[in-house]
Every structure is written in C-alpha cells, then in structure tokens.
Symmetry: C2
Subunit: 428 residues, 2 copies
C-alpha cells in the first residue's frame, strides 16, 4: 500500500482518514464476495505464511532486537517471539477460518404475512472493523481472517513492538487477497508506531469504522472503552465465580472448582471467587480448599471460611472484585442462590459464572438471576471460549450487551437486513 498522506509526511490523522476511506470502499465488493473467493484468499494466505516463513522470522528477529534494546519485559518478549511452530500455527489458524461456515447470506429467520409478503432476515457483513492489539503478531492473521470471512473490511493496529513481524504477516494476507481477486484494502495494517493512530481509530475515522475490538491487557481495553466513539466488543476483566450450591455433588464441586481456577490462571474465564452455601460449608469447604491448596493456590477467605479452614488468609473487601489472573482465590460462605447471585451482581464483571448443584430448579433459578454473558451449570468456567462453544475461532469475549455478547466469532461480526418478496402488494 502506498498512501498519499504517508508519502508527503507522517501525519497520522491524514493517513488514518485515508485508511478509513479505503476500508469503506473495499467493504462493498467484499460484502459481495463469494464463499469460494474468501476461502481461496484464506488458503493463499496460509500458503504465503508458510512460503515466507523466513521473511517473517527475519522481521521478528528485528522486532526482538529492538524490544530487547528497549528493555521489554521477558513476558512481553515471549509474546512477541515467533518460531517455526508458531508460524505453522498461524498458517493452520488461517485454514481453520477457511473451514468455518460463511455466515453472510444465512437466513436467520423467515416468515410469511397474511398479505402474502415473505420476509427473511438475512445476515450481511457489519462493515469496517478496527482491531487494536498488543504484542502478539499472530493476531494480525487471526483477526484479519475472521473479519474477512464475515465479509468485513478491517483496519489492524498492532503493538508498535511487533510492527515488523505484523507487517511481514500482513504481506501474506495481502498476497492472499490478490490471489483471490479481492480488494487488498480489505485488510489494512496501520504502518505507524505513532500512538496517535489509536486516537484516530477511537474517534471513528469520520464514520468509516463501525466497531472496534481491542485485544490486549486491561489498560488497553480500559482506554478503548472510555474513549471510543464507536461501539466496542470487549471485556474489561473476567471476575468469574464458582458457586457451590447446597445440593452440589462434592466430588464434582472439587473437580469443577479446581479446573475453573487452576487449569490456566491467566485467561479471562479463570475463576477468581468461590461461593459456598452455608448448608454444606462444613462438608464441602475443606475438601475443595485442600484440593486448591495442593494445586498451589492461595486461599483468601471471609471469617466463616477461616473458621472452617484456618490456613486461609483473611479476605478483605478488595478481594471480591479482584481479577487475580494468578493462583489465588477469594472464598466466601453465602446463604443460597439469591445471596450468591447478589454477590455476583455486586462484585462480578458480567463475564462467566457457574453453579454446582444436583438440584435442577436451583440451577434454573441461578441462570435466571445471574446476568452474565455466560452462565454454566455443573461445568468449568474455563469453557468460556468460542472454540469450546463450537463457534470456531473467536476475536474475543464481550461483556457488553449490544450486538455481541460472550464469545465473538465470525457470526457475531455480522449484521443483517430484511429481504421481502411480494407479488405486487401495496399498502392500504
């Protein structure tokens, strides 16, 4: 891509405005692209990623050098680093998106009116999506592919640390679009390290950006949610709860709690708080907390918990809304489904919660009372994932209530229109 604005000077505002106009222009032919054309592009992208692995690794080495010189934290450098296995994973992800069903054109609902009009609600692309992410270069391919599959143009703004890697991957995406005869402006990468580019995206590119998806840490998501003038698909945090109801099976309660907390502690679907019914605190608390302790988890309990499990540290008010993303769990004794759901409403983040119980009525009451994107019964909170839901790849998990909620997969990146078939009907 050669941008007129960039040739002249490094004016981020002018460049971003031009990218917005190009994206909007590309979105129209892209919305009409066939499934075959989109899948041809995705396969050609995967082939290009494999074929240009050396170029990508070279670019990544330059990013790593720069990152080390800039004193990036080891965890950041690990996220940034690519190797042969990670490049193959990128290519595979592109093929997996190709294998997903194409949502565009799907008939979501259809009905006939007494006057003979046949009405269908048909899926269409959303338009232009902005993705703002941090150091993982693979997001360039993953997000670009998902947006393309749903017929959307996308503007990708990766972390400045990974610009060379992302640019090398983006070149493969452009090649795929060329091979399939689709507009290259369908997937644009912001070629600037200048953070002003993010500000321009948050302002909405003069109406040329329909939604923003931030992928990254809390501070990024917080800024995007606070400043964006366009809708945002995101979650700020996942303060997920496991609620052990009085009719819980003990072994299941142990297994699901340990898995919810400890399978992976750094993901948004990891449990952060355990609520246990007073009626079974004496029987259930000790086995569950011992299992967590044996897994290396620190326990922070309220007074009732500490009375029954003295090894627990004292929880403070600050623990209840806390997303540890670590081997720490806050534990509280509650009195029934209503109290549990009230605690969740007060301290939760609307992400994912689970109830463990053999009592179907209690489970249904919990499902009704708890207003989170995902509510589970007798299953681990770590299932909060588009892949686990059978939706294929996801671009993230949303806790907002508009348009997309829960895992945001290819279907959630679409809009719809009404197609109405008549035989000359006029309105009286």
């Amino acid at each position: 891509m050669v941008f007129a604005a960039l040739r002249q000077n490094n004016d981020a505002a002018a460049l971003m405005a031009e990218m917005g106009i190009r994206a909007r222009a590309a979105s129209r032919p892209l919305g009409l692209a066939t499934t075959d054309e989109k899948n041809t592009a995705l396969q050609a992208m995967a082939d290009a990623v494999r074929g240009r692995a050396d170029e990508i690794l070279d670019a990544n080495a330059r990013d790593m050098q720069r990152g080390e010189a800039d004193g990036l934290a080891p965890a950041m450098l690990d996220r940034l680093k690519l190797d042969a296995a990670r490049i193959e994973a990128i290519a595979k992800s592109l093929e997996e998106v190709a294998a997903l069903p194409d949502p565009v054109g799907d008939v979501i609902a259809s009905w006939e009116r007494p006057n003979g009009l046949k009405i269908s609600r048909v899926r269409t692309p959303l338009g232009v999506i902005g993705v703002i992410y941090e150091s993982r270069p693979n997001v360039t391919a993953d997000a670009g592919a998902l947006c393309l599959k749903a017929g959307n143009a996308v503007i990708l703004r990766g972390g400045s640390d990974s610009l060379e890697s992302s640019s090398a991957i983006h070149a493969c995406l452009s090649e795929g679009l060329r091979v399939a005869g689709l507009p290259e402006d369908a997937i644009q990468l912001v070629p600037l390290r200048d953070r002003a580019a993010v500000g321009e995206m948050l302002a909405g590119l003069a109406g040329n950006l329909d939604v923003i998806v931030p992928r990254g840490g809390r501070s990024l998501v917080e800024r995007v949610q606070k400043e964006a003038r366009v809708p945002v698909f995101a979650h700020l945090e996942g303060v997920c709860h496991v609620y052990v109801h009085e009719a819980a099976d003990l072994q299941m309660a142990v297994d699901v709690t340990v898995n919810s907390k400890l399978r992976r502690t750094g993901i948004c679907g990891a449990a952060e708080t355990l609520l246990v019914d007073e009626a079974v605190a004496k029987t259930h608390l000790e086995p569950i907390l011992s299992a967590l302790s044996m897994g290396g988890c620190e326990i922070r309990g309220d007074e009732n918990v500490r009375a029954l499990f003295p090894q627990a540290h004292a929880a403070t008010e600050e623990d209840w809304p806390k997303e540890y993303l670590d081997k720490i769990i806050a534990v509280k004794v509650v009195d029934g489904v209503e109290a549990a759901s009230e605690h969740i409403a007060r301290y939760g983040s609307g992400h994912t919660e689970t109830i463990i119980t053999q009592d179907e009525a209690a489970a249904r009451r919990f499902m009704a009372l708890v207003d989170s994107a995902i509510v589970l019964h007798n299953a681990s909170t770590q299932f909060a994932d588009g892949g686990e839901f059978g939706m294929g790849a996801e671009i993230g998990i949303a806790t907002g209530r508009m348009h997309a909620r829960g895992p945001v997969g290819v279907e959630q990146l679409t809009s719809f229109k009404y197609c109405v078939y008549g035989s000359g009907q006029t309105r009286t």
Copy 2:
C-alpha cells in the same frame, strides 16, 4: 417520584444522574419480572389512561394554551393535541403491547457439544433505554410500554411543549407498575423542560444508559447521532427508491410506485426516487409518471426522463439524496441492476428500496447488491413498518448496522446470554 436533587435545586446534571442510578437499580428486578406481572402492569396502565382521561385532557389543554402563547406552528399544535379518540388509542396501544409475546427468556438457538455441554442463547433485557422525543405525548405510553415488555427500564424525555400531557400519561404508567408490584423507577419521565437533560442523556448517565432511541425530526436525530456516547437506534432519513427493472410488469410498476410515493408522503418509508431501466423507459415511464402526476405529484427528471415525459421539471444533483416527505419524486433512467444499486449506494440512506420485476434472478441480484435495512421485491416501500412486518408495535426504524436494523420492536430491545448445562465437565 421525589428526587433529592430536585428538592434541593434544579440541577439537571444531578437530577439526571440520580434518574440513571434509579433506572439501573430498577432494571434488575424488572429483568426478572414474569410475563404476567408485566402484562398486569400494561393492562392497569390502559385502565388508568381511560379512568384519568379528564386529567390527561386538562393537562393537555394547559400544554396547548402554553404552545399557542409561545406561537407554536399549527402542525406542532396538531401533534400535541389530545382528544377522546387519541386517548382511547393510547389505551389500546398499551393493550396491544400486553398482547405481544414476551421476548425475555426465549431460546434463540441451542446446540449440544461433543462433550455433552448443552448451550442455549437466551434472550435477556438490554438494560436501560433512553427515549428522547418531541411533541407527541402518546410516545410516552408507547415507548414506556415497549421497553417494559422487553424487561428494560426506560428514561423518557419528551418535548418540553408536551410536558404536562406526558406527565399525566406517565402518572398512569406509574400506577400500572404499582398495581403489578413492579418498581416505579422502571419508567421514569424527565420532569424538566431544561434542555441540559438531553445533554446528560447523550453523555450516557455515567454508564447507566445502554442505548438511546430518538423519536422525532431530522434535527433531533442528527444531534443525537452526533453527540451520543452510547449506541443509538435511529434513522436520520428515508431516501427510499423504487427501481423498475426491464422485466417489470407495467401495471404492477404503476401500482407499486404510486403506493410507495403517495399513500402517505410524510413517513420515512415513502419513496423519494424512481429509477427506471433504459430498456423499458419508452413503454413504462409515461404511464407511471402520468399516474403520479394525476395523484398530484411533482416530477423531477434527468434529461432522459424529460425527453420522454416533457412535463417533468429538471432534476439537479441535489434531488438525488433528497428526502422530500412531500408530493415530489426524483426520476432517473438507469442501465440495469448494477447501475440502480450503485445509484442507491451513492445517494440512498440505507432505509428501504424495492425492485419491480418478473425476473427472479434480477430480484435476487438486487437483494444481494443493495445494502439497506429493508429490500423488497414487487412490493411497496410503505411496508417498511414493524406492524406490517408482524413484529407488533415498533419504537422506530434503525438504519445503523449494530444490534438492531430495520423496524425496532420488542425483540430488538433485548440482548441475550448463554446458558450452558453440563454434568460436571471440566476443560482439558
């Protein structure tokens, strides 16, 4: 309602903030209200409107007096005026919303995963809705009822001209909520004429407003779309097109065009532009335009049109994107489906378009190419209406692409969550 902020002083910001907090608090019990409770409230509201008709008429008389003194235009005064028939219509609308199916709890989709997890996508309320409208006092009842039926709390901000009428109607809504034991804060009316109240709503009431619906003229919608920091369900205008394809049946083309343009000219679904294929211009143009002319419609045509129908005025570039809302139509000769859809993409407003043709393939191509909320085949654009779609009452028509598009009825005022039923599954 007695607001602490209002007792102390007339600080619109503090008052609105308090209304937001109250609405959010009411939205939780309201989301859990049963269908029976909501319908009991709606019926009690209708009864109260009938029972207090005299009070409402008195309040309306005061609004009318004030409006006349303020020199309101006759059209505005007509919109403001209530009489026995209009009050009965308000009561009937409330009963019609009671008769609509309750969307909350509907299972939109459900599936089972290979590991046995049963996943359902279940409708939930959206949360808190802000409705900003102008002088028609009936919107108080219509919008309040629709939001309630979908389990949402609502903050209503009517025109300052109709404040007394709206307050009298709102008292009936409050009575209905009381009768059903639902929180009165579920439907709040801004008790201020101060326009700063609108600004506070557009700013989002500190996260306590989830969506804004403007109901009114272009300047209101324009301001809301421009300034709102929360999502907006609206359309700015309806520049709707009738496209007469070369395979159109002539009589159908005449009937549908005349109905689309002239049945009612002041509604957003009224056609504003007629596109006619070159191939049938000689045969179809004259009969269609004569029928429009006989209906009192002014014709503004391009050169090709004027060559065949010399009575037509000359259309200028300003006519193509124009929403006349009057007995005027812009007419252009085009060369096929692609050209017609390009004209619509360039000049249309994404609201509603129709193709008249006996050629099914052409109709499907038009449906695919045209990216408007509603696309019809062989039917009048005036069917662009929630009632005509079988959706019951609507709060408006949206041309945005997020969440709601087309008629916004009770279903479009909902969100969803995922309910996942397991038997102890943990993630590996």
